[in-house]
């Protein structure tokens, strides 16, 4: 036993002096970088709750994982738009309402469930059309089965973006009819059978999901044999992990993006995977405290979204004026309300409300917490006290859903962000009547909105679609339930030697990753 540090106190003293000395010298010994060339290490920013394409919380990581494991008719290509997937011989739109497809022969499901067949395709799409994601399938009617490998998708109305917004998206994957039925019709984090370039070798929740190349896969071999997906929920922490060599690709936060624009780490590249995100603060129109529309309108006028863009996103995000994202038909340059605290106070007075206390629920990450604090300060200025409730992904995504508990009754304010597809109809599907208590947590509905939604899907004229989607956003403004905040870019930092591939909504298509 060393005589140098005999007591706890001596140890503390030594550490204290060493700390002071270390600080004085200015730095500690460098951290050894970990490097493992054999395995690609990517970041997943939230836990995998479900892989079931009918009932998952969309976005990354379920889409990323499903595309690596499961068949689909089409994928997102590198040049934008869709391309036939490795699972098909051909996919051809015969006319505005018929899509012919032929599957490749000999594509085998795992676990001995036989070949991928047209019946699986029909089962998958029929199931989606009545699932929580039925909004993606509004134009879908049925699949005509010609034989074991070929068939025709029949639409109930012309709908040009069907390939991009539905078939190529996370809800377009094909599941194994026999396996899913054997599993009881639903599943969560384990696909009952898969047929893709990768298999899940291990899943340690909260830590890592290991994808290994599927030895039975008879399509083109992926560029990376092993992919370890590490769960790092905080983007800034992921960037630090990237810089320490623990990740090969990571999503970066607004602040880090601003820093990397000035100076990027060595041998690294930045890829902006799209800005099809829309973030807003929602209000529960059913809640007694918010039932009076004047209170909701007061809150709309009290929040300074430009401060959110600067304070929480370092100016790297675009200010939002509606749910239609930049670059899409129907995108507006102003909302139906403006930042005007005086008007907000007047509206509250008119409603006879004083000493209002509200809760604001948000995901517990840096940008959202900063956003929440800006909103808290904005609302304090008009006399509304806001208590911020930070939540982890699990309880956050469940809180507005009626079938996931009773929190939806207590919901008052929350900060929400959805991803949009590359077509403007996509965001509106979450706010229709059928989504009240599912994803329409604001809990309002309007006949005109329903009518316009159906018209927008069927309309092919860009000018008319613009008018429809502008009006639909005006209806959303008029509910008083929305304060539009930002459209943030999805930015990834990655090794320059890696050429990643993303969907328009910034999920990673790992099967198409390759070396640069």
């Amino acid at each position: 036993m060393s005589k140098i540090l005999q007591t706890r106190r001596q140890l503390l003293q030594t550490i204290a002096f060493a700390g002071i000395a270390g600080t004085a010298v200015g730095k500690f010994p460098g951290i050894a970088y970990a490097a493992d060339g054999a395995t690609l290490k990517i970041q997943f920013e939230r836990e995998l709750d479900s892989l079931d394409p009918g009932y998952f919380v969309g976005g990354s990581p379920p889409c990323d994982v499903n595309w690596a494991l499961m068949p689909a008719l089409v994928h997102y290509g590198r040049g934008g738009g869709w391309i036939p997937s490795p699972h098909v011989e051909s996919v051809v739109a015969r006319d505005a309402t018929h899509i012919d497809f032929t599957l490749r022969k000999g594509m085998m499901w795992t676990n001995g469930f036989g070949e991928v067949t047209t019946e699986d395709v029909a089962y998958s799409y029929d199931r989606e059309a009545v699932s929580e994601w039925k909004g993606d399938y509004v134009a879908y009617d049925h699949v005509e089965i010609k034989d074991k490998y070929s068939g025709t998708i029949v639409l109930n109305q012309p709908f040009a973006p069907f390939m991009n917004t539905t078939l190529a998206s996370g809800t377009g994957i094909i599941i194994c009819k026999k396996a899913v039925e054997a599993a009881g019709g639903k599943f969560t984090t384990e696909q009952p059978a898969s047929c893709g370039p990768y298999l899940i070798a291990e899943h340690r929740p909260g830590q890592v999901l290991k994808l290994r190349s599927n030895p039975e896969w008879n399509g083109a071999k992926p560029a990376y044999e092993n992919i370890d997906c590490l769960f790092v929920t905080e983007s800034s922490a992921a960037a630090l992990a990237y810089e320490a060599g623990e990740l090969d690709i990571a999503k970066v936060s607004a602040d880090t993006y601003a820093r990397y624009l000035k100076e990027i780490p060595a041998n690294s590249s930045l890829t902006v995977a799209g800005a099809l995100q829309y973030m807003w603060m929602g209000m529960n129109t059913d809640h007694p405290k918010l039932k009076d529309i004047r209170v909701r309108q007061a809150i709309q006028h009290a929040v300074d979204a430009s401060a959110v863009v600067q304070g929480a996103y370092s100016g790297t995000a675009e200010q939002s004026y509606g749910v239609v994202c930049p670059g899409l038909t129907g995108r507006r340059d102003k909302a139906g309300y403006s930042y005007d605290p005086t008007k907000a106070k007047a509206l509250l007075e008119e409603a006879g409300v004083s000493g209002l206390k509200l809760t604001l629920r948000t995901l517990n990450n840096q940008e959202r917490m900063l956003t929440a604090q800006i909103i808290q300060a904005n609302l304090a200025a008009i006399g509304v006290t806001v208590e911020i409730i930070p939540l982890d992904g699990g309880p956050f995504w469940d809180m507005g859903q009626e079938k996931k508990g009773d929190t939806w009754k207590e919901l008052e304010l929350w900060i929400m962000r959805y991803s949009s597809g590359p077509d403007p109809y996509e965001p509106f599907q979450w706010f229709v009547r059928g989504q009240v208590g599912v994803w329409n947590w604001e809990r309002w509905s309007s006949d005109e909105f329903e009518d316009l939604f159906a018209k927008g899907v069927a309309e092919t004229d860009t000018g008319k679609r613009e008018a429809i989607y502008t009006r639909m956003q005006e209806i959303m403004d008029e509910t008083g339930a929305y304060v539009y905040l930002t459209h943030e870019p999805e930015v990834f930092i990655h090794k320059s030697s890696l050429s990643p591939h993303f969907s328009p909504t910034a999920e990673m298509i790992v099967g198409a990753f390759k070396e640069a």
Binding site: R259, Q310, A312, Q373
Partner: protein
């Protein structure tokens, strides 16, 4: 002659100050610890006097500014003055520590004395309870409680109190057991004194010393628990400043603006060192058996 000699070499502090204080003052680590504690307490109590800004006022145009005469420790991501927030963060830390430690000390002392002095069955029952609580890892218990009940400062304090009580109680029980059968207690019992009186008047003064030392050494633990939970977003809620939330906001932008992490970290280090040195020195003074080499 010997006594006379001893008397003439007495220094001034020996005459004026009690023996214990002299012992304490001769320990440089103790004095350093006491000074640090004093500084931290003063800065927290008089935070509004020392603060240069309002801790909640945002100045987004001036976000992440470096240290300057206007903002001694720069500003955070929302342009709030970090120096002011560190001062106010000290209030939260010390509030949790003061309430948490004192309540657990009082409850632990009472339960411990009852366990030591009371009947065997009660002793066994209380011991079982103390050990059951002690078997929970504090942070894990806190995380579970926060997940169930939602984050708040009062919950943090409740958890601190519940998990600290057994430590004090076991110490009080052992001390009580060791003096329970001494003559002066037996004499008091033979005079018909009630249990309450024996515990409060005779046993408590004899067992409280070590507990106070333990309390001083527990303060940094409690401060760290509060900061840790707040760092994870499970303790103090925004916009209230806590050293933990300052660290949390700072570590994410450590590459560009390190002063926020430094500003949140240094008071934590100083508090830990201050209270630990103070506690250790007090122990040396009041419990000479534990003093090394004596």
């Amino acid at each position: 002659m010997k006594a006379y000699k001893k008397k003439i070499i007495l220094s001034l502090p020996d005459v004026i100050l009690p023996e214990k204080l002299v012992l304490f003052l001769r320990n440089p680590m103790g004095v350093l610890g006491f000074t640090l504690v004093l500084l931290i307490v003063i800065s927290a109590v008089f935070a509004p006097l020392f603060a240069t800004h309002n801790p909640f006022t945002m100045d987004i145009a001036n976000r992440l500014a470096g240290p300057s005469f206007d903002n001694f420790l720069g500003t955070d991501q929302l342009g709030r003055d970090t120096y002011t927030r560190v001062l106010y963060g000290g209030r939260v830390a010390l509030q949790v520590a003061a309430i948490g430690v004192s309540v657990s000390l009082i409850v632990g002392l009472t339960l411990g004395m009852i366990a030591g002095y009371g009947p065997l069955w009660l002793d066994n029952m209380l011991l079982l309870l103390f050990d059951a609580i002690r078997s929970f890892p504090t942070i894990v218990l806190a995380l579970a409680a926060v997940a169930l009940l939602g984050p708040s400062l009062s919950l943090v304090m409740t958890i601190v109190i519940i998990t600290s009580i057994p430590g004090y109680a076991r110490l009080a029980r052992t001390s009580t057991l060791s003096i329970k059968n001494t003559e002066f207690i037996l004499a008091e019992q033979s005079l018909g004194a009630s249990m309450k009186r024996v515990l409060a008047i005779h046993i408590m003064p004899n067992v409280i010393g070590p507990l106070l030392i333990l309390a001083a050494m527990d303060v940094p633990v409690v401060v760290t628990i509060e900061a840790g939970l707040s760092f994870l977003g499970l303790g103090v809620q925004p916009p209230t400043a806590s050293w933990g939330t300052i660290l949390n906001e700072g570590y994410l932008i450590i590459r560009t603006t390190p002063w926020i992490v430094i500003a949140g970290g240094i008071p934590l280090i100083l508090t830990t060192l201050g209270f630990t040195f103070l506690g250790e020195s007090l122990r040396d003074v009041f419990d000479p058996r534990l003093r090394k080499g004596k």
